[in-house]
C-alpha cells in the first residue's frame, strides 16, 4: 500500500476502522506512523483541555436571574425563597400541632365518659356545619394539590404529609363527635383541625397562584 492510498483511508483509520492493509502499511512506513501518532496525541491533549475551565462566575447567574424576572419567566427571588422556607417549616408546626392535638384529644376522650353509641344524627335535625363543609374541603384539597403538582416534589411531599396527618386527626375527631355529639371538647378539636387544614390549603393556594408565565 502506498502512502497516498493509506491517506485516503486515514480518516476512517482515525475513526477506528482498521483494515489489514492499512495496519501493514503503518508497520512499514515511519512517516505515516508519525502522522497517526501525532494526531492521536492531539486528540488526547484535547481531553486535558477540558480540565482547564472553571465554573462561570456568580455574576452570570445573577444577571440571568434578573433577566428571567424582567421577562416574567420566573418570579421575584423573595417569593421563591419564602415558599421554600414556608414549605420547610410549615408542615412541622402543623404536624407538631396535629400530633399534640391528637394526644390531648386522646387524653381528654379517655377521661370523658362516653354515652352509648347513637345514630349519627345532627343535633336538632340540623346538619353539622362540619359535615356540610366536608365536600367543599375535599374539592379544594384536590384542586390545590393538583395545582402544586410537579412544581417541587419535595414541597409536594411535605404538603401531602401534613395533609395526611391533619386528615387522620379530623377522622378521629369526627368519629368521636358522631359517637358523642355532645362532646364539646371533641368538636373544638375538630374545628381546630379543619382550621389547620384550611391554613395549609391557603398556603398551597398562594403558591399555586404564584403567577408564573
Amino acid at each position: 500500500m502506498l502512502c497516498s492510498e493509506f491517506l485516503k483511508d486515514f480518516e476512517r483509520w482515525m475513526d477506528g476502522e482498521r483494515t489489514p492493509a492499512s495496519a501493514v502499511h503503518l508497520e512499514e512506513c515511519a512517516k505515516c506512523r508519525q502522522l497517526t501518532a501525532e494526531l492521536g496525541a492531539i486528540a488526547l491533549a484535547g481531553v486535558r483541555l477540558a480540565e482547564e475551565i472553571p465554573e462561570p462566575p456568580e455574576r452570570v447567574w445573577t444577571a440571568l436571574r434578573a433577566q428571567l424576572v424582567s421577562e416574567g419567566i420566573i418570579q421575584q427571588r423573595g417569593w421563591r425563597e419564602w415558599w421554600a422556607e414556608r414549605s420547610a417549616t410549615f408542615p412541622r408546626p402543623a404536624l407538631a400541632g396535629a400530633y399534640a392535638a391528637v394526644i390531648l384529644c386522646a387524653v381528654v376522650l379517655s377521661r370523658v365518659p362516653t354515652a352509648p353509641v347513637q345514630e349519627p344524627v345532627a343535633l336538632g335535625g340540623l346538619q353539622s356545619p362540619v359535615v356540610a363543609l366536608q365536600p367543599q374541603f375535599g374539592r379544594v384539597e384536590q384542586k390545590q394539590v393538583a395545582s402544586v403538582h410537579g412544581r417541587n416534589p419535595a414541597v409536594i411531599a411535605k404538603c401531602r404529609e401534613g395533609l395526611e396527618i391533619v386528615d387522620n386527626f379530623i377522622a378521629l375527631c369526627e368519629k368521636t363527635v358522631r359517637e358523642d355529639p355532645r362532646n364539646q371538647v371533641a368538636r373544638e378539636y375538630l374545628y381546630s383541625a379543619y382550621q389547620q387544614k384550611a391554613e395549609l390549603l391557603a398556603t398551597m393556594t398562594e403558591q399555586g397562584t404564584g403567577g408564573t408565565r
Binding site: 502512502c3 497516498s4 491517506l7 485516503k8 486515514f10 480518516e11 482515525m14 475513526d15 515511519a30 512517516k31 505515516c32 508519525q34 502522522l35 501525532e38 494526531l39 496525541a41 492531539i42 486528540a43 491533549a45 484535547g46 481531553v47 486535558r48 483541555l49 477540558a50 482547564e52 475551565i53 472553571p54 465554573e55 462561570p56 462566575p57 455574576r59 452570570v60 444577571a63 440571568l64 433577566q67 428571567l68 421577562e71 419567566i73 420566573i74
Partner: protein, 188 residues
Amino acid sequence: MHSRRVYSLCLRMVRNTAEAEDLTQEAFLQLFRKIQTFRGDSAFSTWLHRLAVNVVLMRLRKKGLPETSLEEATEPDEEGGGPRKDVGGPDQLLTGSIDRVNLERAVEELPPGYKMVFVLHDVQGFEHNEIAEIMGCSIGNSKSQLHKARMRLRELLHEVERDKSRAKREAARADQSEDEDQADAEGA
C-alpha cells in the same frame, strides 16, 4: 455540570472572558425560554449545547468572522481534488505530551467550524452523532471536519516547533560568534 461545559465551549470559541460570560448567560436564557420545546428526543446536554452553539455562531456572524460551514466541500489540493496529503512532519516530531499552552494557541487559530467540532469532540467528549445534531450537519461532515481540525492543529504545532528550533539555532550561533570575537580579541 452543564454550566461548566457551556461556559467552556463559549470561552474556547471567543477567547474573551467577558464575552464568554455573556454568551453563557444568553445560552441559559434561551434554555429557559425554550424549555417547553424540549421533547426528550435527544439527551438534554445535546439539546442545551445546540442552543449554546447557535448563540455562539450568531455572535460570530454579527462580528463578521468567517465560519467554516460544515457542509462545505472538502478543500481540494493542488494535485487532484482529494484531501490535502501531508504525511509526516518535515523535521520535527511532536514528541512527548503536547504543550498545553501551544495547543490552546493553536486551537485559537482554527477557523470557527473546525474549532467547534474539535472542542465538542476532543475536548468535551461528544460523539459524532451528537455533534451532528448539535451542529445540524451529517455525521460524515462532523468526522471530516474533526479530521481537518486535527491536521491543521498538527501543522500549527509543527510551526511552533520549527520556530523554537530556529530560535535555538540562532541563539547558539550568536553565542558562538561572541565566543569567536572574544577569542580574536584575546589573540590580538
